[in-house]
């Protein structure tokens, strides 16, 4: 009998079989899920969109690689998470930004927000959003130049305009309707993405196609996106109109960075709670802060700050909201009696 020598047998802890899911597979799938939104960004905003997003991805990956090489660590760029941060940052930028905006954004996102905190798994805040927040505060002018979604026809000299939420905030609903036609025209533009905004946030339909892939794979669940959207919808309906319960929830649901944020950024594993019940609280918090900023704040859009603020609460939510322990019900009853 060919009996193996002791050193030929592998000895390791159970379980000895593992599922096929890996971090790489998850991250690259999320990247793939954002492809439709990326394609639509190029469709509406022209080659410049591909250049901005591409530069974000390239610099994110390079920053991660060289940081890790410099610290004599294993480069983790193969796991797809630096790529994803770059992609998300790019999709969150306006179409016409000078080249240093993506570079600075990637530096803040990858080096400061992710790697200095310990790398994937240890960061407190969503890297792409911190990158964007830094840029918005540091370069407020550059970060709020919105091209009309017609760049594919007229090249780089696209006319600038305001985002739907910007018009809503500054000039009100009648003016917004005047720009887009009637209400159904407005909804259709918001759904398809033919409106001004950050590169990847405008096409709701493309984002939902990607989100469907993530649901199908089980990478995200309803808890965060739906509690986020439901809160925004209810608050928009209740407080977004002339009187109480006279608002139009659909305008708020379909505009701004809400769909991109709710499905792709609030659901970032590392920076959201991991217990499902806690995720609902997280989603409601995101929705409430978003609407607070949209309706009462100084910015027309609040998704980014809402998610970042709730990122702060994720650890404490996870420590206080625990899963339902098997056999716990009985223990409680006994303690009471």
């Amino acid at each position: 009998m060919a009996e193996p020598k002791a050193h030929e047998l592998v000895v390791s802890v159970s379980p000895h079989v593992r599922g096929k899911e890996t971090v790489e597979r998850i991250m690259w799938t999320v990247n793939l899920a954002l492809l439709p939104a990326f394609i639509m960004s190029v469709y509406y905003f022209g080659p410049l969109a591909a250049y901005v997003t591409g530069l974000c991805i390239l610099t994110s990956v390079l920053f991660e690689h060289f940081y890790q090489i410099a610290l004599k660590k294993k480069s983790t760029i193969g796991d797809g998470s630096a790529f994803l941060t770059g992609l998300l940052l790019g999709l969150n930028l306006p179409p016409t930004v000078p080249f240093y905006i993506p570079v600075v954004g990637s530096l803040i996102a990858i080096v400061i927000t992710k790697l200095l905190f310990g790398g994937l798994g240890y960061n407190v805040f969503n890297p792409a959003l911190i990158g964007r927040a830094f840029l918005l505060i540091s370069f407020p002018k550059l970060m709020t130049i919105w091209s009309e979604p017609t760049a594919r026809f007229i090249g780089l000299d696209a006319k600038t305009t305001a985002t739907p939420l910007g018009i809503l905030k500054e000039e009100g609903l009648p003016q917004l309707l005047e720009v887009f036609g009637d209400k159904s025209d407005l909804y259709m533009s918001l759904l398809m993405g033919s409106r001004a905004g950050s590169l990847g946030e405008t096409s709701v339909i493309a984002l939902l196609i990607g989100a469907a892939l993530l649901f199908y794979r089980g990478y995200i669940t309803w808890h965060i996106p739906f509690s986020f959207l439901a809160t925004v919808g209810v608050m928009a309906w209740a407080f977004g109109g002339e009187g109480l319960f006279a608002g139009d929830p659909l305008i708020h649901l379909l505009s701004g960075g809400l769909i991109l944020g709710a499905f792709f950024m609030a659901t970032d594993y590392v920076t959201c709670p991991s217990v499902r019940k806690g995720q609902v609280i997280f989603g409601i918090g995101c929705g409430a802060i978003t609407m607070l900023i949209r309706l009462k704040g100084g910015f027309p859009e609040g998704v980014m700050f809402a998610i970042l603020l709730m990122n702060c609460f994720a650890p404490i939510i996870d420590r206080s909201i625990k899963p339902d322990l098997f056999g716990a019900v009985r223990v409680k009853k006994e303690e009471k009696s």
């Binding site: 009998m1 802890v13 159970s14 379980p15 599922g19 798994g121 420590r319 899963p323 716990a328 223990v331």
Partner: protein, 436 residues
């Protein structure tokens, strides 16, 4: 089987049962020598009652009990004691063991038969079970007579026979249910009698339709025994999960099955109980599934306790070229072996040999990305993610405060973890550093 019972959460690993599920139980050849550890069970080790040079017969007690939670061990063949010394065992510990050289005669001591076994008193049944050295044969190896002797204040109303066999690859219980269904039912009735319980259940995962059929026909005319088709899901065969599926009761956190009036026994244990009470036969052999792509001819074999794994594997054609891992038990909770010179003991349900194509290296793992997959599958409703982080960083008290000791190390969290973290290792590390 329209509706199947189950518990919440759990995982669906690849089962690979077809390698051995169609193989009838064969008798393994008797080896040249056996190595019988005095401790094959939870509780106090047995004390050797023989000396080097003694001649022993099959069924003779060679190690006596040394406390209430303890179990005797028997010679599983006839021969001469040639050594009493520490030997490696399948759980990785060195254990005092009695080595017997086979004399080739296979002479047995005389067993006391009981044709009227259903008239025996509960105490008689329990003492026979104890003398026969019967322990839980699903893997945990808790002395069966102790489980059948709950404290007076705990009233037991339900006995469940565990035929879930939820570990991938293993088919020993499956074959027993197909081939020995009547005897298992008799064993269940004896267990019910020993506890004074009138309600019996047998839970079987629906991936064993022939076992369900055999057991169903074996209980016709037994109105008090019910067969439960169970959803195919790991760890369906864990005691608390099985009780939940069958009775709907949840064993309280940190509690025992008897806290909800239930006693669970494995099908192999039920058979051993029947053979011990009816024929006076001690637990000297058990069915072992020898399987995996690393083994030439997978089989289900009746193996004498103390037979070395190497001898069993040789009868299955040996290992294939490139066999990388030998596991005692199933792939989810079994123990990887460093040598094949370890004996089959009462709790050995399988010898699984993984070939390169089935092997997953677990050397590289990364930080927890807190995806929550482990939380979604943990049958105990724990947060394995946070427990593993606490353990990794040395916050063992925090792990304890997060119900660490409810973890029974089923490995579901590690199975689904995309970062390939050694979750079970983290749990064991933390458990070793704090008191429950």
């Amino acid at each position: 089987m329209s509706k199947t019972a189950t518990f919440e959460r759990g995982i669906h690993p690849k089962y690979n049962k077809e390698l051995a599920s169609g193989k009838s139980i064969t008798r393994a050849e008797l080896p040249k020598r056996i190595v019988v550890p005095v401790s094959q069970h939870i509780g106090a080790p047995a004390q050797p009652e023989v000396n080097i040079g003694d001649e022993v017969k099959r069924g003779q007690i060679i190690g006596g009990t040394s406390g209430f939670v303890s179990s005797p061990v028997h010679a599983s063949l006839s021969g001469k004691v040639i050594a009493i010394s520490d030997f490696p065992t399948s759980v990785g510990k060195m254990v005092q063991s009695i080595v017997i050289e086979n004399d080739g005669k296979d002479e047995a001591v005389s067993y006391k038969e009981n044709p009227d076994y259903m008239k025996l008193s509960a105490d008689d049944i329990k003492s026979m079970i104890k003398d026969a050295g019967i322990v839980g044969m699903g893997g945990a190896a808790f002395p069966t007579n102790v489980k059948l002797s709950p404290p007076k204040e705990k009233s037991i109303d339900t006995v469940i026979i565990n035929g879930a066999e939820c570990e991938p690859y293993l088919t020993a219980d499956h074959r027993l249910m197909v081939e020995r269904s009547g005897d298992i039912v008799e064993g269940l009735k004896l267990i019910m009698r020993s506890l004074g319980v009138s309600e019996g259940h047998i839970g079987i995962e629906v991936n064993k339709p022939d076992a369900l059929e055999a057991m169903s026909s074996a209980v016709t005319g037994e109105p008090n025994i019910k067969i439960w088709p169970l959803e195919v899901k790991y760890p369906q065969g864990a005691e608390k999960m099985l009780i939940k599926a069958v009775t709907g009761r949840e064993v309280p956190s940190k509690g025992l099955p008897m806290d909800v009036g239930a006693v669970v026994q494995n099908v192999g244990t039920a058979l051993a109980v029947y053979e011990a009470v009816r024929y006076g036969k001690p637990l000297i052999e058990r069915v072992v599934t020898i399987t995996g792509n690393g083994i030439k001819e997978p089989a289900n074999m009746m193996v004498r306790i103390g037979t070395l794994m190497a001898d069993v594997i040789e009868q299955c054609g040996g290992l294939v070229e490139g066999a990388v891992k030998v596991i005692s038990g199933g792939p989810m909770m079994g123990f990887a072996q460093w040598t094949l010179d370890v004996p089959v003991v009462k709790g050995t349900s399988g010898i699984l040999v993984l070939a390169e194509d089935e092997f997953v290296s677990t050397d590289d793992y990364s930080a927890c990305i807190r995806c929550g997959s482990c939380i979604d599958v943990c049958p105990m409703g724990l947060n394995p993610s946070i427990l593993s982080i606490y353990s990794e960083k040395g916050f063992f008290e925090d792990a304890k405060d997060n119900n660490l000791f409810d973890c029974f190390e089923c490995g579901s969290c590690a199975y689904v973890c995309p970062a390939k973290r050694p979750m079970v290792q983290f749990m064991r590390l933390a458990k070793s550093q704090v008191k429950p």
